[in-house]
């Protein structure tokens, strides 16, 4: 057995863990990182990144279908799903190798194995790493748990990799099915729905809540829904999945839709109903670590009730987003390093992006939430139809909605749907972080002609000063 001492041991090499490890190393700490599958975590290997590669392919397909408008004619378009998948895997591999280099460059000791916390002393945490060959015990003053999460199954139906897919199998199809039923319409659900629809698959989306993308502002969800329906996607809201049966080579999904039992027949079924945290076999039960609904509870500095044990990312409370995990990684390491003037993460300052077509991006409170908090609001809306760049691009469907506190002028929410809005939202993130009011946003000069002008117009509209609408 080999005894090593580190300042920090990070368990998990996803966007939370590897960022924490690199930041800790930058601050002069000695760091060990333990990863049992692939550096970069789900995000990079089986989430954010490979799905963006897929969605780029379906976006190109959509363009090809509409090149006539731009003066081209293309015929005989063939879809090679294997090459689409292959490119997606290549992108993921390239980035995963990149993380390996980054960790090496930053002198982070990486262990390939499964980590388990042992009952050490309060000041020296002990972690057992099960590698292929042997068990290694390493010790450190602080441990960061960044084990992430995986997709959730239903009690009566689990992904089997054949007909019932989770995100992993859904992003590595060997052939295109004729029809797919997507259960759940969060970001993952609508991205797959959009992808497969653009590739010509008949898609049905089942959502238990009254609207798809239920966490987004209603105006935004509605626009996505209208777009989806127009493209031939079947949307079943207020609908729950009751049972799944194999029917011939197809799946028969029994659903309860507004009180009526219906059946959807499709070739494949994608489960996208949320995640569960990876907390098993980590050794948490040996410590005073509290859980809520399967997720680890921490204080605002990401420390659990056990001093010196931190948890970040998807294993903790939501929102379950890579950039939240990364920021938590940096924050908790800087806290360990004794940084002053740190600020806990404010959930209303975490932007969220969905890469379906049309894209969705948002930050802060929705109109409904703002009103439920009894805030008096001023709301601005600007459609991309009024934006020159969007029209020139031939992509003018969408809306930017801004919500201000009427009393203070605080930007309390921004919600966008339309072309490249996932790239635009950071403007409002910065505005929120710097605590700008409508005044500064209104007096900021936005470049012309850009999509971002719509952000400006939306702000102006909240105060009845929009020019182009």
């Amino acid at each position: 057995m080999n005894n090593s001492d580190y300042d920090i041991i990070v368990i998990g090499g996803g966007p939370g863990g590897y960022v924490a490890a690199i930041r800790a190393s930058q601050l002069g700490m000695s760091v060990a990182l333990i990863e049992d599958k692939h550096l970069g975590g789900i995000c990079l290997n089986w989430g954010c990144i490979p799905t963006k590669a897929l969605l780029r392919a379906s976006e190109i397909k959509h363009m090809l279908d509409n090149v006539g408008e731009f003066g081209f004619s293309v015929s005989n378009i063939k879809i090679d799903i294997n090459n689409i998948t292959k490119r997606s895997r290549k992108v993921a591999d390239q980035l995963s190798t990149g993380i390996s280099h980054l960790l090496k460059k930053n002198k982070v000791k990486v262990f390939d194995g499964f980590a388990q916390l042992e009952k050490g002393t309060p000041n020296l945490k002990t972690v057992k790493v099960k590698t292929q060959d042997s068990d290694i015990v390493i010790k450190a003053k602080n441990v960061i748990i960044a084990t992430g999460a995986r997709s959730r199954n239903l009690p009566f139906v689990s992904s089997d990799g054949k007909n019932i897919w989770d995100y992993k199998t859904a992003m590595t199809p060997t052939e295109l099915p004729k029809s797919i039923t997507v259960i759940g319409s969060g970001a993952i659900g609508v991205e797959f729905a959009s992808f497969y629809n653009d590739l010509g698959v008949k898609v049905t989306v089942v959502e238990a809540l009254p609207s798809i993308l239920p966490n987004e502002d209603e105006d935004i969800s509605k626009i996505v829904e209208t777009n989806f329906v127009k493209r031939g996607i079947d949307i079943k809201t207020n609908t729950t999945l009751k049972a799944v049966k194999m029917f011939d080579k197809n799946i028969s999904a029994e659903i309860l839709c507004d009180g009526n039992v219906e059946t959807i027949i499709s070739e494949k079924l994608i489960l996208a109903i949320g995640i569960i945290a990876n907390t098993e076999n980590v050794g948490l039960e040996k410590f005073n670590i509290k859980m809520d609904n399967g997720h680890i509870i921490t204080n605002e500095w990401l420390e659990t009730d056990e001093k010196g044990i931190f948890a970040i990312g998807d294993v903790t409370e939501g929102p379950w987003l890579a950039h939240k995990a990364s920021h938590e990684g940096t924050l908790c390491v800087e806290k360990i390093a004794g940084y002053k003037n740190l600020k806990p993460i404010e959930k209303t300052s975490i932007p969220g992006c969905t890469y379906c077509r049309p894209q969705v991006a948002s930050i802060g409170l929705t109109e409904k939430k703002a009103k439920s908090k009894n805030l008096k609001v001023k709301i601005g809306k600007f459609p991309f139809l009024g934006n020159g760049k969007a029209i020139a691009m031939g992509d003018s469907e969408g809306l930017i909605k801004t919500i201000f506190d009427e009393d203070t002028g605080e930007l309390i929410g921004a919600h966008m749907v339309g072309p490249e809005v996932t790239e635009l939202i950071q403007g409002f993130s910065i505005a929120k972080k710097l605590e700008t009011t409508e005044h500064e946003l209104m007096h900021t000069i936005f470049p012309h002609p850009t999509l971002s002008e719509s952000m400006h117009e939306s702000v102006l509209d909240a105060y009845n000063q929009a020019i182009h609408y």
Binding site: N341, K343, D407, T408, G409, E410, L434, E435, T436, T437, H439, E440
Partner: protein, 419 residues
């Protein structure tokens, strides 16, 4: 052209004051020399006279308003032939926008207001007419926090920001309010058992200066017992001849002894001024006087060239002025050394807090009969314990010890003071 009556600087160090009482109301006709208001400074309450003839057009600050910055307009004086409506258009610039008025002030050669007593200080304030502008350091604040502060009438300078470089954020404004609410709720809770007394400007000044002293000056303390038999004897002799014309107190003699000691030990007659140490040639002795609601230290100046009679008379006048709040700033600001005497309360000995920037303070206990040993014989003598508090930055242990030993010599052999 109407005149702004400005908050006068009643002492060179005064930055703000409280308008404790208006003696005129809007519409009153005043002539030069009329008393118009009472202003409470950190040390005293003073009356303010008008130097111009005219009509009080508008009163800009309410009675009791605190922390009015020097040179902030407190009222508008209409000159002959002017009416209130003349000024209303011009005076959209009200209280907070002092800077707007600065130009006008700068163009005016005379100060709008003064008191006869303040004649000397006027020269100083005249040059200082711009402090509002100069004191403004940049406050980093987010636009949202700035707006919230404005809406809630919160002075941003009171808030320390939690953002990068101390930038004030929304939360800081909200926490500021919360703290205030917390304080208020605590007060209501305790209402039955306590009484809340607003701190006067003087209390705040005492608090500020003493905290500063204890925080900044490394204090150490030296004590010595003095036999005052001789001193008491000589005092009786002197007073016996007075025909009730005067009455020299023990304290007067202590002041004289301290002065004589400082002349012999000039290293103790000093003050700390960070880059420099100032050694005083004169002995200006600050004497602590308890007054209603606090204490003040009027100064007996040039004690080294004064006899006991003069010291005694000075002390009487200054103590009376102090008790009626009539001390002029130059009568209590400055001084090279302090004496605090609690002997009349029967206090045996105590250590006092240094009066910054002075280097030392002498705490005097009561004179009492104690058994002492002289030539291996126990005898009874009148003894008095004195304790010297020294600021170690200025006065080292040996200097402090020398001071006390010389002081003891003067007290026990008062005739030496005649030299």
């Amino acid at each position: 052209m109407s005149l702004n009556i400005l908050m006068p600087a009643l002492s060179p160090t005064m930055e703000e004051g409280t308008l404790s009482k208006w003696l005129v109301k809007e519409g009153d006709i005043v002539t030069s020399g009329d008393l118009i208001a009472e202003i409470e400074t950190d040390k005293a309450t003073m009356e303010v006279e008008s130097i111009d003839d005219g009509t009080i057009g508008k009163i800009l600050v309410n009675e009791g308003q605190e922390s009015i910055k020097v040179n902030e307009p407190i009222a508008i004086l209409l000159l002959e032939g002017e009416t209130l409506s003349d000024i209303e258009s011009m005076h959209e610039a009200k209280l907070p926008e002092v800077t707007k008025n600065l130009d006008k002030i700068e163009n005016k050669p005379k100060i709008d207001i003064s008191s006869k007593e303040m004649a000397k200080i006027e020269l100083v304030t005249d040059k200082n007419i711009e402090p509002v502008k100069q004191n403004k350091t940049r406050i980093f604040v987010s636009p949202l926090a700035k707006r919230l502060a404005k809406q809630r009438n919160i002075d941003l300078s009171l808030i320390s920001g939690s953002g990068a470089n101390g930038r004030i954020l929304k939360n800081d404004i909200e926490n500021f309010n919360n703290n205030k609410n917390l304080l208020q709720s605590e007060i209501t809770l305790n209402n039955n058992k306590s009484e809340l007394v607003k701190n006067s400007s003087m209390r705040k000044t005492i608090a500020e200066r003493l905290v500063q002293s204890k925080n900044e000056a490394p204090h150490f303390y030296l004590s010595l017992d003095c036999n005052i038999d001789q001193l008491l004897k000589i005092r009786s002799l002197i007073n016996l001849k007075s025909n009730d014309q005067y009455k020299i107190s023990v304290n007067d003699m202590i002041i004289k002894a301290a002065s004589s000691t400082l002349i012999k030990v000039p290293q103790a007659n000093a003050s700390w001024e960070n880059e420099n140490t100032r050694y005083f040639k004169n002995t200006d002795i600050s004497v602590a006087v308890a007054i209603d609601g606090g204490l003040i230290t009027p100064i007996i100046k040039n004690v080294q060239s004064k006899g006991l009679l003069e010291i005694s008379e000075d002390m009487k006048i200054l103590a009376n002025k102090a008790k009626s709040g009539k001390l002029l700033p130059e009568e209590y600001i400055g001084g090279s050394f302090s004496i605090s005497n609690l002997g009349m309360y029967g206090i045996k000995e105590f250590s006092a807090v240094i009066n910054p920037p002075q280097g030392a303070i002498l705490a005097v206990g009561s004179g009492e009969k104690r058994p002492i040993v002289i030539n291996d014989q126990i005898t009874i003598a009148n003894m008095m314990t004195v304790t010297l508090s020294c600021d170690h930055r200025v006065v080292d242990g040996a200097v402090g010890a020398e001071f006390l030993s010389v002081f003891k010599d003067f007290i026990e052999n008062p005739s030496l003071m005649l030299l």
